[in-house]
Amino acid sequence: MSLALIQAPVSASFGGAFEFIFTPQTSNVTGGKTVGGLSQVVELTLTQLEVTVLALALALVVALPAGLYFGHRGTGELVAIGLGNAGRAVPELALIALMAAVIGVGLLNLTVALAILGIPPILTNTFVGIREVDRASVDAARGIGMTEFEIVHKVEAPMALPSIFTGIRTATINIVATATIAPLAGVATLGEFILGENVYGANGVLAGAIMVALLALVLEFSLAGLQRLLTSKGLRLSAV
């Protein structure tokens, strides 16, 4: 049906894309409008980061306490695991498009939609991580007089940290990737370049892709670094 599109000549090049990132240029599609350049790229990148952080924060607020609670209690396994599996099957594009079409556009709606994508991995990994904490350590913690809250806070959560972080990292990847199509929901992220080929040109599309990939990798490496910083050396030793 869109054979013409598939065979469309590819005019993008990495050189052109980098030029687009650093130098503002006149759009060759819509006459006269200035596009690209560092300031616009930075602005859109920051918006994508902002949306990602907001959605991740919302997902954390919901999923982390729930995962800790159910993991500690050992109940709700079906929901926690099932939600994780179902979450993977939800097509991001359909979710965002549907949210935009049914509930409406805007930062708040987008944040909620993205947070929905982030909740399942955090919840599942937190739950599983807590359940997998050595029962002897928990028994000892209770035996030496830790309250249930202290057991979660001082023993289970630190020991489940690697698993929790796996969940947070997966959630972050999902959210930042999906934030690319945020323009569908009326929020101008880097997806603005990608979805607006007729304004920004093929080089603009590629520039957007480069920036999205960079942003995702920066987030991934930052979280990996943070995880390393927060994870006790003792856990790494006992994992060997």
Binding site: D134, A136, A140, G143, I144, G145, L235, L237
Partner: protein
Amino acid sequence: MPSEEVTDERSNSGASAVRYEGATKRYGDSSVAAVDALTLEIPAGEICVLVGPSGCGKTTAMRMVNRTVEMSEGDILIGGESVRDRDAARLRREIGYVIQQIGLFPHRTIAQNIAAVPQLLGWKKERTEARTAELIELIGLDPELGGRYPAQLSGGQQQRVGVARALAADPLVMLMDEPFGAIDPINRERLQNEFLRLQAEIGKTVLFVTHDIDEAIKMGDRIAVMREGGKVAQYATPAEILMDPADEFVEDFVGADRALKRLALMRVADIDLWKAPLAYVGQPTAEVRAKLASPDVEVPYPLLVDSERRPLGWLSERDLRADVVPSRPDSPLGPLLDRDDVMRDALADLLQGEAQYAAVADHQGRIAGVLSVEIISEFLGSPEAKTEEHGAVERPHG
């Protein structure tokens, strides 16, 4: 020295009696109790071993004390105070807890693991650190290991840390659930001895769970033999349990070799030794022969001793044919026992040396008497032995 004062105060006031009053545990609405109306008094400062086959409820019984298992009926009093009235977490901070799986926190260093309870109690940093250092020394760990993580320690070292963590806030009572069960036999014995030495110093009230009757005999001041359904079959000292099992169940559980086990509870000094005719170097042999001829002689061979009465060897017929006692005896001394030797080991020495008699020396090395296989077998068979009671003597004297 102030630190010594602290230690003294601790051992004097740091233990409370534990009293079970009909403590019962039922799981769900099961009609069969896991622990059935347990009534037991454990005096302050003693080690009480709960021993029995798996599934007899011994661990459940122990766990009701710190309420990691909530009892269904009855009560348990620590120092006269019901555990039921206490906030569970606060109660547990006053009770040391050691488990077979050790359960150290892998994400915390050894020092942080030991400091866990003091931290929960909100001790000042300096006090916690001082106490941690003190405990690392007490359990004989290299102070350098304080900064290591559990994964870097051997199983035996980890359980020493487990014991130190339990002792950190100077608990009134210690609960130990098969604490040495997962340790190899050589290290287990070492840890048992270390703990007994420690206990002689700190004098805690200890509830010790094991399924191993030998460990129970070794560790316990008192033993509660439990049977399925959480009932106590017999509660007595190790010696009583060995000599006078309350019923067939206890007899079976203690094992057919209980006579031998009793020997592990006694020292050579606890038994009446025989006297051998003594012979001194250079003494006329006629005098020695006269001693041998006396009717109340118990050992038919003269024992050669030096001027300090230290045993040198046994004289033979040939030695006595000379005029004076020679300085070198014909037969070697054979096994030489100490008055403090455990009877089981003394018997082993006798059998291994293929000797009928063994000289027993006192602390100065002077002859104290002679032990024979006959004395041991007579003792084990005699009725008065069954009433005689000796402490669990294998522990080092505090």
